[in-house]
């Protein structure tokens, strides 16, 4: 092999109280797809932020084309030819798709932006990514998370990059879209562009990766592994230091009982129509569908966060007042929303207060909080979910993505719901934590909780659920036991539905 495009040696990055990177080495060759693996909080995002000029490393060197460089500002990295898709979708909501794509390098003449050029360029990029339906002139704030991910991808492509960093790009994408993404990656790598790819889905590593570097606790534990030859168990062992059975727990046996949750003819104009289903205590019902099929809207409407145009929701046979989250929570419904940053976490607040946010009444007498009880309960949950780093007073902003997700789960575990709605519960969650979350769902169902799961990973929906609803065309196309379906069958139903 010739000179590597990029070589990072012994990179150290400390945050107040945390050593995020404790000496990491990374070497990337032109034209390769280099996968970065590691548990939540291993330091992947921090590493790529160092590479992107967002964080200045405390120690270590970065060589680009064999020359040592210092990156003081994101612009410096971009000038070298590094384009980055960040894990937290850092788009500006008030600007349009085209404006976001070209932010920082707007096509302009004498400072006047050439908006037609930008729109045309954006449209081309979106088409190349297979998403013509996203109009360059819509405001990003109105797009779904998946569409935002596409926009962010288009933005990375809009720079003439020699290295594209992708931090968990597939987390919000469904199978078809991941395929499109891979096609684009193959296209750019064929032209000699290198890609650093981060994902928690090991099968993706195998499908697209050339070589793998594994991080654990801020250190490189293995580098340059062959992506196809290294076994899954081996990778998991490197990441976690132990062996984990990466399988779903047995499906719970559901006793015949009155449904805990009943959804009757629920509709919202323009979003979904006539959704009807039951969930019995201890049962898991999955919602499968393509991105944008309205699954998030359905669970948010059940939760009262959106007001249904028609239909109603019953918990244990009693109707829940429509359009009121407080009423839904009081009735025993909980929701782990899709976007933890925007919808779930108070980023500036401590972990403890995020965890107890829905249960404040329990820790208070006459409105006065019992801080010790609150801290104790939060600590216990953080232990049982293995949230890292420890410390209930830590600001939730400083946690890695996967750990943030666990905090949101902890909130509803603490409350002890009758019905739990999980929207993309394993988004950005590592293998270890993933199996913990699966086990957790199992534990909840054993306690008689009714669970609704939305996930873009069809195997996950199938593996976790007793019954599956397949959505297409903004309505339920199929309902049936999960055992009778496999990934292809589900996709078939979806495609037929969309064709109809």
């Amino acid at each position: 092999m010739g000179t590597p495009l990029l070589r990072m040696t012994n990179v150290v990055k400390r945050f107040p109280g945390v050593v995020a990177l404790g000496g990491v080495d990374l070497e990337v060759q032109p034209g390769e797809v280099h996968c970065l693996l590691g548990q939540n909080g291993a330091g992947k995002s921090t590493l790529i932020k160092v590479l992107a000029g967002v964080h200045e490393p405390d120690e270590g060197t970065i060589e680009w084309d064999g020359e040592t460089v210092t990156l003081h500002h994101p612009q410096a990295a971009m000038d070298l030819g590094v384009a980055t898709m960040y894990q937290e979708l850092d788009l500006v909501e008030g600007l349009t798709v085209a404006e976001n794509i070209y932010l920082g390098h707007e096509p302009a003449r004498f400072g006047f932006s050439q908006r037609t050029t930008a729109r045309r360029g954006a449209a081309e990029l979106l088409a190349r990514l297979g998403h013509r339906e996203i109009s360059p002139s819509t405001e990003v704030g109105t797009l779904s998370a998946a569409s935002c991910q596409i926009v962010s991808m288009a933005r990375a492509l809009s720079r003439d990059a020699r290295l594209i960093i992708m931090d968990e790009p597939s987390a919000v994408l469904d199978a078809g879209e991941v395929e499109q993404l891979f096609a684009v990656i193959r296209e750019v790598t064929a032209q000699g562009v290198a890609v650093v790819y981060i994902s928690h889905r090991l099968e993706e590593i195998r499908a697209i990766g050339d070589r793998v570097t594994v991080l654990k606790d801020g250190r490189t534990v293995a580098t340059g592994l062959d992506a196809e030859q290294t076994g899954t168990q081996e990778l998991i062992r490197l990441m976690t230091g132990r062996s984990i059975e990466y399988v779903f727990p047995d499906r719970p046996q559901v006793a015949a009982a009155e449904p805990a949750l009943r959804v009757e003819g629920l509709s919202r104009e323009g979003e979904f129509a006539d959704v009807t289903f039951d969930v019995r205590p201890g049962e898991v019902v999955g919602l499968a569908g393509l991105v944008g099929s309205g699954r998030s809207e359905i669970v948010e409407t059940i939760f009262g966060a959106r007001r249904a145009t028609s239909g109603r929701v019953l918990v244990d046979g009693k109707p829940v007042r429509a359009g009121s989250v407080a009423a839904a929570v009081a009735a025993g419904i909980g929701l782990c929303p899709e976007e933890r940053k925007g919808q779930a976490l108070v980023l500036g607040a401590s972990l403890a207060s995020n965890i107890t946010l829905a249960t404040l009444a329990r820790f208070s007498r006459a409105g006065v909080l019992d801080g010790d009880a609150e801290v104790a309960a939060s600590e216990e949950l953080m232990d049982s979910l293995d949230v890292r780093p420890r410390g209930v007073h830590r600001e939730s902003r400083t946690l890695s993505g996967g750990n943030q997700q666990k905090v949101v789960l902890a909130r509803w575990l603490l409350r002890g719901c009758r019905v739990l709605l999980l929207d993309e519960p394993t988004r950005g969650v590592d293998v270890g934590a993933r199996s913990e979350i699966y086990a957790l769902v199992r534990r909840l169902t054993d306690q008689g909780v009714a669970v609704v799961v939305v996930s873009s990973e069809i195997p996950e929906v199938l593996g976790l659920s007793n019954r599956v609803l397949v959505l297409a065309d903004r309505t339920v196309r199929h309902e049936g036991p999960a055992e009778e379906l496999d990934e292809h069958a589900v996709l078939d139903i979806i495609l037929k539905g969309d064709a109809a």
């Binding site: 992107a52 967002v54 500002h73 994101p74 612009q75 971009m78 980055t84 960040y86 850092d90 788009l91 500006v92 909501e93 008030g94 600007l95 404006e99 932010l103 920082g104 390098h105 707007e106 302009a108 400072g111 006047f112 932006s113 908006r115 002139s137 819509t138 405001e139 109105t142 933005r155």
Partner: protein
């Protein structure tokens, strides 16, 4: 905005249903319908007219009230020019303020900067220099002082990382104090007749001050909507972290925003000097509230990320017309204040109603 587009695409506009002109969004080309109705500020209204429909409606209502109660005294061209002339000074400041607020900041020191600029430009020293060369020296002095104060604000906010509220509050105290010290609390009379004649004059019947305001508004609109500077301003206001990750020099840009507003204050000081023929430390009192109110009522988000110069201009016109109508009706100040409060709330509710009916 995107929402009502879809609406317009899907259902045909109900004939005669809208009080506000129905107007599909697109390029500047299709905005003509609303613009023709609104008259003078045609060019500006095209894009964000939809968002401003409620404001236009409020202004129209106000004009109707003015005509009903004031008759010819209100509807005369002179009165229109009076309103515009009175609105022009605070208008220039408000356009500058639109940038700072869109960029996620705030500036409480505008009035004090106007005062200091006007004082500095009318000291004996400056006026002597002007008398020996040209009155343009006074203009330069005012704008330079404004820019300087703005720059200090900008540096402290961007590089000192102090909350803009605090920085500009400090500047408010300091600049006005300095103005008082320099002017020794006297009202300094502008002795340069050339200056007064130029800025007090008219071109084709339109006062120079009004022309200046229009120019500033047009430049502001172009800058915000048609340049990379404007895009970046909105990006920084909307999500400073994202803007930084996109390679924008957020600090430097923020500094520019305050300097820009400082320049606007300098220009406003020149206009005020022409209007009152004086420079004094009491100029520009409560401009901060007036300007922020005009900007926010216009539809610019106080939290940043969304800004509209057209809305700001409409906001200024609404407030100025309101005062004018009040005076024509000989209303006492207390009643004016109560009415003003009620009208502000009503205008915003109206605006919301209009944009909601348009979007659902």
């Amino acid at each position: 905005m995107s929402a009502d587009v879809t609406k317009a695409d899907q259902t045909p506009p109900a004939a005669g249903s809208g009080t506000a002109p129905e107007e599909p969004k697109g390029g500047p080309a299709v905005g003509g319908a609303a613009a023709r109705n609104a008259g003078a500020i045609t060019g500006l209204l095209s894009g964000p007219a939809g968002r401003s429909a409620g404001l236009v409606l409020a202004l129209v209502l106000l004009v109707v009230v003015g005509i009903l109660t004031g008759g010819d005294r209100f509807a005369s061209p002179e009165n229109a020019l009076t309103i515009l002339r009175l609105g022009s000074v605070i208008g220039v400041v408000s356009v500058g303020m639109t940038f700072v607020i869109s960029g996620g900041g705030i500036d409480l020191s505008v009035g004090a900067i106007v005062a200091l600029s006007s004082v500095w430009a009318t000291t004996v020293a400056t006026q002597t220099m002007a008398a020996n060369s040209h009155w343009i020296v006074m203009v330069f002095a005012a704008v330079a002082v404004g820019a300087g104060c703005g720059l200090v604000n900008g540096v402290l906010v961007a590089y000192g990382r102090i909350a803009p509220f605090i920085v500009t509050l400090a500047m408010l105290a300091a600049a006005r104090g300095l103005a008082e010290i320099i002017a020794k609390r006297r009202t300094q009379i502008v002795r340069e007749r050339g200056f007064i004649e130029f800025f007090g004059g008219s071109v084709l019947g339109v006062p120079v001050l009004v022309i200046m305001f229009a120019l500033v508004a047009v430049i502001g609109w172009v800058l915000l909507n048609r340049t990379t500077f404007g895009r970046r301003t909105l990006a920084i206001g909307g999500n400073p972290e994202a803007a930084r990750l996109a390679g924008i020099r957020v600090q430097r840009h923020t500094m520019y925003l305050y300097a820009l507003l400082g320049v606007a204050c300098g220009i406003a000081a020149v206009m005020l000097m022409a209007r009152t023929t004086t420079g004094t430390s009491t100029h520009g009192q409560l401009y901060e509230l007036d300007a922020i109110a005009a900007v926010v009522i216009g539809g610019t988000l106080l939290s940043g990320g969304r800004g509209t110069v057209v809305g700001t201009v409409l906001g200024v016109l609404i407030f100025t017309t309101l005062t004018n109508v009040f005076t024509l009706n000989n209303l006492d100040t207390s009643t004016q204040a109560v009415a003003k409060g009620a009208i502000i709330v009503a205008a915003v509710l109206l605006q919301q109603r209009v944009s909601r009916t348009r979007s659902t």
